[in-house]
């Protein structure tokens, strides 16, 4: 009997390895090692000798603008973060209520809305962004529509607004889907219980639903923030080439054959984002746990 149990356990361990080994190997080879390469390129020059010049350049390079001397890359980085955060906040403000409405709808309506959100993702994002140019132009559809209503015209294309619209448009589904999948599974009895205990609508939302949906919110934020920080197509097309973001800078250096500096910028971006995400995760965890205690 003992021998049997031992054999069983050994077998279980073997199965475990067979299940985990391919993925572990894959992760090491294609996730971890490539990052080591980024770091390696970031800290070497064209002759692969150690250098920190790329980092010095990133933090100290200046250029003169109307508003005086600025740190070139810090400005670019700051601007990218700003636009990405604005887009993420807008996505959350639009996406959370939508996910909530979806989760409370009839099953059939839920399914329809879910597919409606997925459909745009199946159509090429370059093409969709291109179509936005036609909408947002001064002579475009939106302005035609507005002037038809007698509301005058707006100038959007080539502004930060246009870039934000593009980002919100492209990444909104990534916010809605994870939040929805949590809200849809939410135990209705919890809400009823809260109601019975005298909570009104707002405090049910604030004290029950919101804390429970935080993990979904967190992954939604991640899935919107990350691609919007690093995009280079949306800013090129909808920003009329006037908004130079960190993604544009990295791509530009790659095209200009400065792989090492591109890698250094990528490295810095990666570190900053990892720190942000870790911090956010920590804060959410604390709030979730704290909420449970309260």
């Amino acid at each position: 009997m003992n021998a049997d149990a031992a054999a069983l356990r050994a077998r279980a361990r073997r199965t475990q390895w067979a299940l985990l080994a391919p993925y572990s190997l894959w992760s090491v080879l294609f996730i971890v090692v490539p990052l080591v390469f980024v770091a390696y390129y970031a800290f070497t020059d064209n002759a692969f000798a150690f250098t920190t010049e790329h980092f010095v350049r990133f933090f100290t390079a200046t250029s003169s603008t109307d508003s005086g001397e600025v740190r070139t890359y810090l400005l670019i980085f700051g601007r990218s973060l700003k636009l990405a955060v604005i887009s993420t906040v807008i996505c959350l403000l639009l996406g959370y209520p939508l996910a909530y409405i979806m989760s409370r709808a009839k099953p059939r309506a839920q399914k329809i809305m879910m597919t409606l959100i997925m459909i745009p993702m199946w159509m090429n994002f370059l093409i969709r962004t291109y179509a936005w140019m036609t909408i947002l132009q001064d002579t475009g559809i939106l302005n035609g529509f507005l002037s038809l209503l007698g509301l005058g015209r707006v100038h959007i294309i080539g502004t930060e607004g246009a870039v934000v619209i593009g980002m919100v448009y492209d990444y909104l589904p990534y916010m809605v889907l994870p939040i929805y999948s949590i809200l849809a599974k939410l135990d209705v009895r919890l809400i009823e219980a809260a109601r019975d205990l005298g909570c009104n609508g707002v405090s049910v939302l604030r004290r029950v639903i919101w804390p429970l949906s935080l993990p979904g919110v967190l992954s939604g934020i991640t899935m919107v923030l990350i691609p919007s920080v690093s995009t280079f197509y949306i800013s090129q097309k909808l920003g009329s080439g006037k908004f130079f973001l960190i993604g544009d800078a990295i791509e530009g250096q790659y095209v200009a054959n400065n792989l090492h500096f591109a890698a250094a910028m990528a490295f810095i971006l990666m570190v900053v984002l990892l720190v942000c995400m870790a911090l956010m995760k920590y804060l959410t965890n604390r709030q979730v746990n704290g909420g449970a205690k309260a």
Binding site: R11, A12, Q16, L19, L20, P22, Y23, S24, S27, F30, I31, V32, P34, F37, V38, P97, L98, I101, P107, K111, I112, M113, L116, I117, I119, P120, M121, W122, N124, L126, I127, R128, T129, Y130, A131, W132, M133, T134, Q137, T139, G140, I141, Y169, P173, T222, M223, I226, P227, V229, S230, F232, Y233, G247, I250, Y254, A262, A266, M270, L273, M277
Partner: protein, 272 residues
């Protein structure tokens, strides 16, 4: 409240579908312009069907997306089961962190990092070219894997661990119990993960841009490379066709789905 939420939902969907309406309209444009509509014509659809290069890029995109989906779903599901059974805390934490990396890393970094490695490895092995279909497939599988794992793992957690044990007590081999009990139980997660992987791969441009090799360009790359000349309504025609194919599929499936739910209700009622 009801009206407010209805208005809100409608507005959001208007926003989501506005550009799709635009490309639908301009795919019927008589001239080559994407901003001036000069008359109705079906010619871009004809052009599209004659354009071998674009069609082959569509085939490449599909082939890549499906291969990436299959590989990442199988590997991701296996990994999820493995992670779920892991007892050692630190190992589980490490694996979870590594899984998070492709998701918390901007795709431009994933793309560049993989390219650097492939090029380096290619040089080391003396290949005349280091990028190919295979490198692109590896890249796509890599960024699809986390989506699969993140869908499957929660389903495993929700599953009653007694279920496969019961099956084994009733004489199933562990493997059979796995396929007969565990897999059906976590199937929704697997399917959603697979769909997510397929969608992400289909829509990816940045990572493909850095890792594509000779003779295998996908649709997003082809569109991006039209930047010296213009993007033609042909591409809008393509997008329109894709749109209607998906729509048709969804409508068909919603009909079959309704029967499905009825059957389920019947089945559920029986034990009573």
């Amino acid at each position: 409240m009801k009206t407010a939420s209805r208005v809100f939902t409608t507005l959001i969907f208007l926003f989501l579908f506005a550009p799709i309406v635009i490309l639908l309209i301009f795919s019927f444009n008589a001239s080559k312009s994407l901003s001036v509509f000069s008359g109705f014509s079906l010619k871009w659809y004809g052009e599209l069907l004659n354009d071998q290069v674009t069609l082959s890029s569509v085939r490449n995109t599909l082939l890549l997306a499906v291969s990436a989906m299959v590989i990442s779903t199988v590997m991701g599901t296996a990994a999820s089961v493995g992670i779920d059974r892991l007892r050692r805390r630190w190992l589980r934490a490490t694996l979870n962190t590594v899984t998070d990396i492709p998701m918390t890393n901007p795709d431009i970094i994933t793309g560049i990092s993989l390219m650097l490695m492939f090029v380096f490895a290619g040089r080391l092995m003396g290949f005349s070219q280091s990028l190919s279909f295979w490198t692109m497939l590896i890249a796509h599988v890599t960024f699809c894997l986390p989506y699969v794992i993140l869908q499957v793992l929660p389903k495993l957690r929700q599953m009653d661990p007694a279920l496969p044990e019961a099956a084994q007590d009733l004489g199933c081999t562990p493997l059979r119990a796995f396929f007969k009990v565990t897999i059906p139980e976590i199937m929704p997660g697997i399917l959603t993960g697979a769909i997510m992987a397929f969608t992400m791969s289909l829509d990816d441009f940045v990572i493909s841009y850095f890792t594509s090799g000779a003779g295998f360009q996908t649709l997003p790359i082809r569109i991006y490379n039209m930047t010296k000349k213009t993007v033609t309504p042909k591409m809008y025609a393509l997008a329109t066709i894709i749109f209607f194919v998906i729509l048709a599929l969804l409508i068909i499936s919603s009909f079959t789905d309704r029967d499905d739910t009825k059957k389920k209700k019947l089945y559920r009622r029986q034990p009573d």
